[in-house]
Amino acid sequence: DVKVTQSSRYLVKRTGEKVFLECVQDMDHENMFWYRQDPGLGLRLIYFSYDVKMKEKGDIPEGYSVSREKKERFSLILESASTNQTSMYLCASSFHRGRIEGGEKLFFGSGTQLSVL
């Protein structure tokens, strides 16, 4: 089974702290994504990456950055955490479009519930 592992289930940080959320997948997927999920708003795309050292902004990139130094790892960085970044953060991965096996479905990690105080 595909496994997408997020480093922390729960995090509590202070306003202004730099926060790192780590995500690792073990299925050699090309695509990796970071979403945040808030009640009533659904999943919103923050950043995504289709290849190593490549990144693209999603719908809500402000206040975030990402790093993809290795194919299996995609990190989300909150440069200076703020209270409005309190949320559930979900990492996902998928095969690149055009691959036959597995299709395009997203495989999600267990999520990181981040609280910024």
Partner: protein
């Protein structure tokens, strides 16, 4: 504007009471329609992918169907363990995903 809308927001069923969840989509160049199950505090778990109108897929008490404008997730004789939030998502030819806000299902014993 591409979007996905799910209804109802919440649904309470008695155990054994069958029902359907709706997912309406307006996505240009639909590439796939996806259903996920999400338990509280956890990430979404993949259930089904549907690719073309008329397609149906089944898994235990769940059956997903697709038309050109909407998808339904039919739940037959649900059990309390089916309680969860069910998410619908659509992807387009640009590989962009659009998620609905989900239907929270509660099955009462």
């Amino acid at each position: 504007e591409d979007q996905v809308t799910q209804s109802p927001e919440a649904l309470r069923l008695q155990e054994g009471e069958s029902s359907s969840l709706n997912c309406s989509y307006t996505v240009s160049g639909l590439r796939g329609l996806f259903w996920y199950r999400q338990d509280p505090g956890k990430g979404p778990e993949f259930l089904f992918t549907l690719y073309s109108a008329g397609e149906e897929k089944e898994k235990e008490r769940l059956k997903a169907t697709l038309t050109k404008k909407e998808s339904f997730l039919h739940i037959t004789a649900p059990k309390p363990e089916d309680s969860a939030t069910y998410l619908c998502a659509a992807s387009n030819t640009g590989n962009q995903f659009y998620f609905g806000t989900g239907t929270s299902l509660t099955v009462i014993p």
